[in-house]
Structure formats: structure tokens, C-alpha cells
């Protein structure tokens, strides 16, 4: 293979691989903090797609979206970790399968 520059599809493929690894982590892990970190990784995979499209199409809208996604992720981090703290305080666990009060 003799590449002189990277086509857009390579960035899309990389970002879909990262996204699916994060999704598999969300499904298989039990620790709420690790599930939270996997969600952050999925958000980052989408950010990579947006930045790649922004650079290849020469349009700044993608980078604006990434900026707003980062702000929402920061807000989500604060609230999500506060929920984990409150959960640990009342149940002494962070494993999601031990918290099944609202499970049907």
C-alpha cells in the first residue's frame, strides 16, 4: 500500500472502531465509573468524526459541534460522578447489577 495522504474513510473507520469498543464496555462492565468512562470514549469517537468531516469539507460547523459536545460532556461528568457518590453513600456499592430497585 502506497499512501501519500489519508482518505476520509480511514478516520471514519477508526472512529467507528473506538465507538464500538466503548459500547462493548458499557454492555459488559459492572463498575459504574468504568461505564461512565466508556461513555466518554464513545463521545470522543463521535467528536473525531465531526472534526474529520470539518477538515475534509472545509466547514467550521463540525468543530463548533465538538466544542458544544465537550461542554455537555463536562456537565455530564459533574452530575454523573455526583450520582455515583450518592449511590455509594446509600448502597455502599458502585456495581450496577447490585442496584436493581427500579428493575422490573
Amino acid at each position: 500500500m502506497n499512501l501519500t495522504s489519508i482518505p476520509l474513510e480511514y478516520y471514519l473507520a477508526l472512529s467507528s472502531i473506538i465507538f464500538v469498543i466503548g459500547a462493548a464496555g458499557v454492555i459488559t462492565r459492572r463498575n459504574a465509573i468504568i461505564i461512565f468512562m466508556c461513555i466518554e470514549m464513545m463521545l470522543n469517537a463521535v467528536n473525531l468524526t465531526l472534526v474529520a468531516f470539518s477538515a475534509y469539507l472545509g466547514d467550521s460547523a463540525g468543530q463548533m459541534f465538538v466544542f458544544f459536545v465537550m461542554a455537555v460532556a463536562a456537565a455530564e461528568a459533574a452530575v454523573g460522578l455526583a450520582i455515583v457518590l450518592a449511590l455509594f453513600r446509600s448502597r455502599q456499592t458502585v456495581y450496577v447489577d447490585e442496584v436493581n430497585l427500579m428493575k422490573w
Binding site: 477508526l14 467507528s16 464500538v20 461512565f36 472534526v51 456537565a75 452530575v79 450518592a86
Partner: protein, 170 residues
């Protein structure tokens, strides 16, 4: 093989490897450290796409602020290794691995079999990624979402203070 291709391959391998490490490590602290490495690799990928401002914000906000918060919570809760017996191999894990590898195959086929025709970064990309241009666009076309985000951050700060308080009454 020029420097662009070498950089992309290196950063892509680091990003995927640290992503797999995050999902497979039992110890939450080593998972967090591999996620920090992952964020640095992504910042490098943003630099290869000429998005300087986004790369800097990625390191500041994700690898800095958010991961410090995560590591702080891990230390506060004193989380050790997850019990080996509790996380034994079950059918759900096998199903998750099978379905995610099928999804990866499908997406790779979809992306790599039909080329988009965009093989070069647009010439204007270097200008678009600069902090000055980001600021221009942000404060002209995206001023309403910007204000809405500030409101959201305020609500999140107040919500997390209420949630983390021991008793609402005092």
C-alpha cells in the same frame, strides 16, 4: 509512506490499544490512566486534522478537568480491583463481543468499500482550526447555543452540589 501516514497509523494504534485496555482492566485506576492516554492520542489525531484549538481544548478539558474528577472519585470511594469471581465469563459477555465485532465489520465494510472521494484535507482547514477563526464563528453564528451551554453548565454545577450533599435540609 510520508510523515502524515506514519503519524496517523501510530496514533490510531495507540487510541485503539488504550481503548481496549480501558474496557478490559479490572482496576479502575489503570482504566482511568489508559483513558488519559486515549485522550492524548485523540488530541494528536485532531492535530493531524489541523484542528489546533480543539486539540488544546481536548487536553485541557478531557485529560485535565474530567479525568482529574474521575480519578478523584475513584480515590474517594477507595475502589479496589473488581472481584474476579463476580465478573466471570458469562453468556452476556460473549453476546456483547460477538455483536460488537459484527458491528465493527459492518461499519468497516460500509466505509471502506464505498470511497467518499475526499482524499485530501481541504486547503481552508488550517484557517478553520485556528482559535481566532473558532472565536469568530462562535460569537457570530453560534451565540445562542453558546449562551444555552453556559446555562446548562450552571444547572449542572447546582445539581451536582445538591446531589453530593449529605442532607438536603442542612
Amino acid at each position: 509512506m510520508n510523515i502524515q501516514v506514519v503519524l496517523f497509523s501510530l496514533l490510531a494504534v495507540v487510541a485503539i490499544a488504550t481503548g481496549i485496555l480501558l474496557v478490559t482492566r479490572r482496576n479502575p485506576v489503570s482504566a482511568a490512566v489508559s483513558l488519559i492516554m486515549h485522550f492524548f492520542a485523540l488530541a494528536g489525531l485532531y492535530l493531524t486534522l489541523q484542528a489546533q484549538f480543539i486539540a488544546a481544548v481536548q487536553i485541557l478539558v478531557y485529560a485535565g478537568a474530567i479525568m482529574v474528577l474521575v480519578v478523584f472519585v475513584i480515590m474517594l470511594l477507595n475502589l479496589g480491583k473488581e472481584d474476579v469471581l463476580q465478573e466471570k465469563f458469562n453468556p452476556r459477555t460473549a453476546l456483547a463481543i460477538a455483536m460488537s465485532s459484527a458491528l465493527i465489520m459492518q461499519m468497516l465494510l460500509a466505509f471502506l468499500s464505498a470511497p467518499t472521494g475526499f482524499n485530501e484535507i481541504a486547503p481552508s482547514a488550517e484557517k478553520i482550526g485556528s482559535p481566532a477563526e473558532i472565536g469568530n464563528v462562535l460569537f457570530s453564528g453560534y451565540i445562542f447555543p453558546f449562551e444555552a451551554i453556559s446555562l446548562l453548565l450552571l444547572a449542572a454545577v447546582m445539581g451536582s452540589i445538591i446531589l453530593a450533599k449529605r442532607n438536603i435540609e442542612d
